[in-house]
Chain length 382, copies 2
């Protein structure tokens, strides 16, 4: 594989962007990149999005955005892997550059979730799960996470309050991120008193429905070696698990998370001990716990302990959700994977101010589609 | 780029598969490949599909199919570029293998169009066009092709009957393809008397709404060099044009077709003169004419002349639609790009019987999303 790097990043605040179209929010981070690099075209635009067909009556997003950008003749691809669509578009762009076929690839993730009523969004999000055996039975994603969390608590003896610090940490970090949806700290009391969605999952265990877009520019490392701020892509892994939760022999072990992380570690020549920060897919607090375990940061059944001990904070052993995570920065589904990568780049560049992880040399991102079903892990360094 | 090859192919007949789910039709061609190769897993499944979110309430198709296949932990990607989703999934699989990251990639295209009423399909297909300026104005894809055909006829002095041979040739070839939807020859009279959809586009200028699925297995050429029947991927190109028809300075020149073909020629080190057969995207007869011109097989404004002179037949200068094309084999949108590649492989392997192009050494395929908007061209040889 040809070595690759991220030359530039772009993002807009995660918010309710009722006044802008999908094209406008998706285009803005790319125009930021064009302005910073002086480019006005690229070889490929890889667009991660999940819900536009249903919410915006629009498919064919790669060409659609390429035209809006004025990126004449660019290759245009729309990649959809549910909530991991962002990281999947990044990975497809990465492969195209790594193959040597193209030299400049934009990976952009964008999602407009507030253009449809919340109940419609809930139904559409369930199309990431098995339509015949899960969605059509009325099992929402939050409900599946609730079943998983309850089983985990029962199996390992944790109580709901032991998950509080995942949410508290995310909100504390979001305060320092101008692009985060919720820039307000919360207390343990806020967490404990939060309204239930599907017991034991409360609104403080789950991400908000929001709009957002983020993008990166991928180029061959050889073209930019030595340039200030360039971030190297050290490793990338992708794996899948059984699609429906009921098909898994061991639902409390996210085997695709493990597999994808191990691929990324191997390619980077690193181990979990080398990772300085981890942008985890904290869509639900239970997923944070299970991901920390399957990635090798915690023993099985011990994920919440890292949160309880403060090891996930900016100065802890393995900082997660360092810019607010899915919980507090927000989870505009198809954009999330790109926000995570943008945030990892910012941490490695040391530009996060009060939200900075001290001495961050190696960053890992992980984006998950479905309930641990489709997992993409990437490792970066300056 | 690491050199790549197609090791094996699979397909099901294009038909109305009311008795099968999307998973069943998508899985069958892959199981054919598994059976022929002895494989039971692959590194990646790249699934091209356009309409499943709307028609089947199911997204996240790469993981979904990977699980159904028992392809434990495989990477799973869903690629959507409207009617070129099949070739786009092929190209993403190709890049992943060419990069050296993975060694076995299934590219599969599948579409169930008969699970929804025809008027719903017409509306959903329009989400490949600009939702605000075309779809929402009630302009269907057939209507846009009608405008294009009328303008072309007016500009270059062709009459409707001059397009007849595109349709007659496709049907004549489909007779010899057991997987084709319409295995019946038609006459010029059939063409001339055909019911109009949007004048001058009749049902004999347009493809049927159908179900279908096809797949190929891509591997590094070095792993299979010398094996019987292995087909080399010599060149691949992808390009886009202005998204909305009204934005194009010159609507009668498909510039993304030209660009994508030129990329493929350059990569393969070939010219149009070297191509022995061309699986064109003959969704509409006007698109056949325009594609032949933009690919360099006919001068501008002269596309129909190739049809009139019989140059597109199996024994002509540039055979097209050799297994029936989109018109008579059928156009299950997300699957079409893979059917074209499967057919090119069959021609190169010389297994097409009465439908064989004599002495076929170099084959080209071209899949188009939107009205010439997103174009992927590939060139193959034994």
């Amino acid at each position: 594989m040809r070595e690759t790097a991220i030359l530039e990043i772009g993002q807009i605040p995660v918010a309710d962007h009722w006044d802008k179209s999908l094209l406008e929010i998706a285009g803005e981070p790319v125009l930021q990149i064009f302005e910073k690099t002086g480019l006005n075209n690229v070889d490929g635009v890889f667009f991660g999005n999940m819900l536009s067909g249903a919410v915006n009556n629009q498919l064919h997003l790669g060409s659609y955005l390429g035209d809006w950008l004025g990126a004449r003749h660019t290759e245009g691809i729309h990649v959809e892997t549910a909530c991991s669509s962002g990281a999947s578009s990044f990975r497809q762009a990465l492969m195209a550059v790594a193959s040597g076929d193209i030299d400049t690839a934009i990976a952009v993730g964008a999602e407009k979730m507030t253009d449809a009523p919340a109940e419609e969004i809930t139904a559409e999000l369930a199309s990431a799960a098995d339509s015949e055996y899960e969605r059509d039975m009325g099992v929402s994603f939050t409900a599946m996470n609730a079943m998983l969390m309850r089983r985990y608590m029962s199996e390992y003896g944790w109580r709901r309050e032991n998950f509080a610090n995942f949410s508290i940490n995310a909100h504390a970090n979001a305060v320092h991120n101008p692009c985060a949806r919720f820039r307000s700290a919360i207390t343990k009391e806020t967490y404990l008193r939060a309204e239930m969605v599907n017991d034991p999952v409360s609104v403080m265990d789950a991400p908000p429905v929001v709009d957002g877009a983020a993008a990166v520019l991928i180029v061959p490392l050889d073209h930019v070696r030595g340039q200030l701020g360039v971030v190297r892509i050290l490793g990338s892994g992708a794996a899948t698990d059984n699609f429906a939760l009921h098909s898994r022999k061991d639902p409390l072990w996210l085997s695709a998370v493990e597999r994808s992380a191990k691929q990324a570690y191997r390619q980077a020549g690193l181990t979990p001990e080398d990772i300085d920060l981890f942008e985890a897919h904290d869509a639900f607090t239970i997923i944070s716990a299970l991901s920390l375990e399957a990635c090798g940061f915690a023993e099985r059944g011990k994920g919440p302990q890292l949160a309880e001990e403060g090891q996930i904070s900016l100065i802890g052993r393995i900082p997660i959700s360092t810019r607010g995570g899915l919980k507090a920065r927000g989870h505009p589904v198809g954009a999330t994977g790109l926000y995570q990568i943008v945030e990892a780049v910012q941490q490695l560049q040391g530009v996060c101010g009060k939200g900075q992880v001290p001495n961050a040399k190696i960053a890992m991102t992980q984006n998950i589609g479905g309930l641990g079903t489709n997992v993409i892990t990437n490792i970066f360094s300056l």
